[in-house]
């Protein structure tokens, strides 16, 4: 297995940290708008609906610093980002006011996934084929898309929090 500390270029880690901060900022902006416009401010009120809609979460279990398995961690990071890219695309048509924010968030998540995938290829640990998007939840009403927006963003923020901690650990001199 790859030695985490030395195998990742510092510029890659700095770019990732910057991208995470940007996505977190995009996500916060979306959460603020969902709360201000539709009073959907608490993801915990939507857990049941989340189960019903089948909004998945993705682990970063290979990433904790005490047991960091770099290839597995990068792969989970990419898979997670790829999943959130799909989930955000599934929110298409959420509302005209939110669409620009969702589009920016989705583009930034997609670019971060590309950054990670490019690094995996550079390290020679990328699978031969790019992953394909699995089944996505189907939102059948405007409310479900908004609630889905709250849940997806909330899950994404938690995911990014873990990723940021891992990247900071790897980036420390």
């Amino acid at each position: 297995p790859l030695d985490p500390a030395s195998s990742l270029p510092q510029s890659f880690l700095l770019k990732c940290l910057e991208q995470v901060r940007k996505i977190q900022s995009d996500g916060a902006a979306l959460q603020e708008k969902l709360c201000a416009t539709y009073k959907l401010c608490h993801p915990e009120e939507l857990v049941l609906l989340g189960h019903f809609l089948g909004i998945p979460r993705t682990p970063l279990s290979s990433c904790p610093s005490q047991a960091l398995q770099l290839t597995g961690c990068l792969s989970q990071l990419h898979s997670g980002l790829f999943l959130y890219q799909g989930l955000l695309q599934a929110l298409a048509g959420i509302s005209p006011e939110l669409a620009p924010t969702v589009d920016m968030l989705q583009l930034d998540v997609a670019d971060f996934a590309t950054t990670v995938w490019q690094q995996m290829e550079d390290l020679g640990v990328a699978p031969a084929l790019q992953p394909s998007q699995g089944a996505m939840p189907t939102f059948t009403s405007a409310f479900q898309r908004r609630a889905g927006g709250v849940l997806v963003t909330s899950h994404l923020q938690s995911f990014l929090k873990l990723a940021y901690r891992m990247l900071r650990y790897l980036a420390q001199p």
Partner: protein, 308 residues
């Protein structure tokens, strides 16, 4: 049609020759017209038309303008009719140059619109309608994944690629193609990551004190506060300060990089009871970027020296 002009080419290089022929058909000439065909370039008659009667009875005149030095002119085919020159057909001639190779291509990433704006030097005037197209690919090595062409508006030497066409943090290949009726030229390719050409807006700089009179922690010092440009808050950056006493001919003094954790800085070593102009700028760092412009000036005055 009474008469019809046909051209070798309506657009030539300045100074090249142009050949035109005009055919006057029978029903026009049977009106008893003096069938001598005359040529006018703009207002001036042009000698040298070679005229012949074709087998079908029509008259044809051919003329060659050896060195066409106008960027634009009308060529008319005429007949003399009861002492007045009758225009039977007219064509527009244009001349100019093929586009030079566009140069000095450079790009800046705008964090407000999140678009990549590239600009270039178009080269000398071609005198012809010339289009400039920004061509780009999501890779520098190959021309896979082309990005939609960005066509500059007429007369403009810049174009902006929208965020949705960009993959940030990946290198992309960009060049400019210039094209007019006389040819096409292509600039050298730029290979860049859009995020590495971010140019930040200046930070906001103000004093901590309630009014313009600074509230220095100690004499000869000024306590400053600043805030990075909001759209760049997610970027690690470094900033520098410059200050200049408002005394005739004084130079700027540069301070920096300023610590970015605390957005506050105590500037000391200044002259007492003196008005200062202060400005600040920031740059994405340690990742690549461009310095912002200097912030608007902040004018402050240091306190009087306390008599000992």
């Amino acid at each position: 049609e009474c008469g019809h002009i046909s051209l070798s080419t309506p657009i030539v290089r300045l100074g090249d020759s142009v050949t035109a022929s005009c055919v006057i058909n029978q029903n026009c000439s049977r009106l008893g017209l003096d069938a001598q065909i005359l040529w006018k370039l703009g207002p001036e008659l042009q000698p040298g038309g070679r005229q012949q009667r074709l087998p079908d009875g029509t008259q044809e005149s051919t003329i060659t303008l050896p060195h066409f030095n106008h960027t634009q002119a009308f060529l008319s085919c005429c007949l003399n009719w009861s002492n007045s020159l009758q225009i039977l057909d007219q064509v527009e001639l244009r001349a100019g140059y093929p586009p030079a190779i566009p140069h000095n291509l450079s790009c800046l990433m705008n964090l407000t619109t999140y678009s990549l704006t590239c600009q270039w030097e178009p080269g000398p005037e071609t005198h012809l309608p010339t289009s400039f197209t920004l061509k780009s690919f999501q890779s520098c090595q190959n021309q896979k994944d082309p990005i939609p062409d960005c066509v500059a508006e007429d007369g403009q030497s810049h174009c902006s690629i929208l965020r949705k066409h960009l993959i940030l943090y990946q290198n992309m290949g960009i060049w400019v193609q210039a094209e007019n009726a006389l040819g096409t030229s292509t600039s050298p390719q730029l290979c860049l990551d859009p995020m590495d050409v971010v140019k930040l807006e200046p930070p906001m700089l103000w004093t901590v004190g309630p009014s313009h009179a600074a509230a220095p922690a100690q004499p000869g010092c000024l306590l400053l506060h600043w805030e990075p440009w909001k759209p760049s808050l997610h970027m690690s950056q470094k900033c520098e300060l410059r200050h200049q006493p408002q005394l005739g001919g004084a130079n700027w003094t540069l301070e920096g990089p300023l610590p970015t954790k605390t957005l506050q800085y105590e500037l000391c070593g200044l002259l007492p009871a003196t008005a200062y102009t202060l400005q600040m700028r920031c740059i994405r760092w340690p990742l690549p970027g461009h310095w912002s412009n200097w912030s608007p000036s902040l004018k402050l005055r240091t306190a009087e020296q306390v008599p000992i």
